[in-house]
Symmetry: C2
Subunit: 374 residues, 2 copies
């Protein structure tokens, strides 16, 4: 693990750049806003920890009323469980025998749920929990429009039947998440995509009840779409992740009318390491922030960030106003294009209290599940 | 740090996916080929460790004749020095006071060099090494066409004079690397870009000698361009990094006539976790491999990899031949689009001996400098 880029009590100037920085005030407001929204709609909130990979942030979410957290990988669940997070849902399929055995073992230590979309996956899981003497909640994943994982709605009934046929597997309901719809910019078009996704989830639920099985819960929804699933009457649980940080990609969405407003709470602090006549070079490239959803934005300056490779970023002044360029050694705040894979590059969060201008480092938190891809 | 995905002696099937895997036979051949090339041209070889971030691979390169390795960041240098690599060149500017102090401290423990492109950088470095009682080799970086860091050729003389004015700083020569030219596909066009870069380096060298200072070395060149710098008579040292692994982006270059052929030696091993009628979903998304230079290629199968997000990849059969799709739980090898940031996502290399079909895990190496961005 890399050395921490700062210590509690440090001023901003003392943070070793580039560093992943949380504006704690903004983070806490974001967490409270989503929790209030879920309460208002009478829905369970199970935020997705794939975004933050942090037991400390999970604890803040749980303290605000979340019923547990989602993760995407077995090793993420293990890393958070090791830090005391006791209610976890792997909202993803696990097929490999070694990983299924780890799932079954973990289910003996925490309240665990998992998604399935195949007979093979269900049967392997059943054998593993039997061998481990554990039990697990199982959600059948439905493809509600993304074309990635999940069965067609009509196939949900037979998979649910297969789940309930096994001792040790508790049928918990349906996983219905449309990842592909999260970044449709237009609120109207996004709502239309989610309306189709909700209809698919409802059809899957009907297939399950037609098979004579009660469907306790439909779970899903992300930071781009939760306002629509919430109003649907079908989803009973929300899984948003990115709302805690609000990256550039989500900020570019036209907000849903009933959605609370979130604030940027995650930044990459960088520093000018080289200056040309018409550009500045900062010490943060795409080993410091993910660029799969576009480059980072420069926070509150009239500057654009151009890709400078793995270790460099090139700052250009808008309209050729070179006086706006930062000086050598000046610090610059970047807002990541996509928060989840940006977090996954760093071992630590530097947590700032009091804002980006005058703030002080209140804590440094580990990214507990960084690199947990298996 | 994440748990190792395999143990020595494991068969391929036992590797926890997704995992970063080295074909050791191919790696060793690539290292030997570049070493032989540098010997043939009578040039120093100082491979770039920003690619591999591994002391073990650096040792293999040194054993094959490399004079030392380059790194891009202070924390990378510290991580490799901690593992016994004793000749390191930070081929990049360092300005922040805290980092300059660490550079000066490290220079007291290993043979260290660094690049500069500003008076401020030189003066801070001089004060720091004086305070630490250390000495350091200093290369003046010249902008040879990339428009990122470095001074114009005419400015190299005055910076060199500034370097030699300080006790503790040894003027070591010029850093002349054209990152932007490495992936020009056409060999002819790439050669033309490097011809201009070499001319700029030669002009900078003339500016240094005109200032009454001997220029001991011009260092630079990457895996896409080294064959051209080698033939130039100006560069005395080569800094290629990616040749050890050969990613898709470099493989797409038209090779230079005099360059040795390299082989793919770095792979992401993944596994099918979900199957649809016309696609397969693998457990590796862009938290497992970088996509800044395009998606990974599927190794020796008639399949295309489509982006499935952070944790998923979608495999599609070319020409709609769905019989070519892998089955649920089948393993699949991916060749990363860009090796450097892919390596930076993983804590371990799984090192395979005997090829991708029948190989056995010979060792698991740590990615010592993973995440070392500061």
């Amino acid at each position: 693990m890399t050395p921490p880029p700062a210590r509690a009590g440090d001023p901003i100037e003392a943070i070793a750049t580039p560093a992943l920085v949380i504006d704690l005030d903004a983070l806490e407001r974001n967490i409270a806003r989503m929790a209030a929204f879920a309460r208002e709609y009478g829905l369970r909130l199970r935020p997705h920890a794939k975004t933050h990979k942090s037991a400390q942030i999970a604890r803040l979410q749980l303290a605000a009323g979340a019923v547990g957290v989602c993760v995407q990988k077995v090793s993420e669940a293990e890393a958070l469980a090791a830090q005391g997070i006791a209610d976890l849902y792997i909202s993803n399929e696990v097929i490999a025998e070694d990983r299924v055995a780890r799932v079954a073992a973990l289910a003996g230590r925490v309240r665990l749920a998992i998604a399935v979309d195949s007979a093979l996956g269900i049967d392997r899981l059943a054998r593993a929990v039997q061998a481990a003497g554990s039990t697990i909640d199982v959600f059948v994943e439905v493809d509600v429009g993304q074309g990635r994982c999940g069965v067609a709605p009509a196939g949900a009934g037979s998979l649910a039947r297969r789940v309930v046929s096994h001792a040790g597997l508790r049928f918990a309901g349906l996983q219905a998440y449309h990842g592909g719809a999260q970044h449709i910019r237009s609120s109207t078009e996004r709502e239309a995509a989610i309306r189709r996704a909700v209809a698919a989830a409802a059809a899957a639920r009907a297939a399950v009840t037609s098979a004579g099985i009660a469907c306790p819960l439909v779970t899903g929804a992300g930071s781009g779409s939760f306002a629509f699933e919430s109003a649907s009457g079908v989803h009973g649980e929300l899984q948003p992740g990115s709302y805690i940080f609000l990256d550039c990609d989500y900020a570019a969405n036209e907000a849903a009318p009933n959605a609370p407003a979130f604030e940027h709470a995650l930044f990459v602090l960088c520093r000018v390491m080289s200056r040309g006549a018409s550009h500045a070079v900062v010490d943060a490239g795409h080993k410091s922030h993910a660029i799969d959803s576009g480059p980072p934005a420069v926070w509150r300056r009239d500057l654009d960030y151009a890709n400078g490779g793995d270790e460099h970023g090139i700052l250009l002044a808008r309209g050729g106003n070179v006086d706006a360029l930062p000086a050598l050694d000046e610090i610059v705040w970047l807002v990541p294009g996509h928060c989840d894979p940006t977090v996954n590059l760093h071992d630590h969060y530097v947590c700032l209290r009091g804002g980006l201008d005058q703030g002080v480092v209140e804590a440094v938190w580990p990214v507990d599940a960084r690199g947990c891809v298996s």
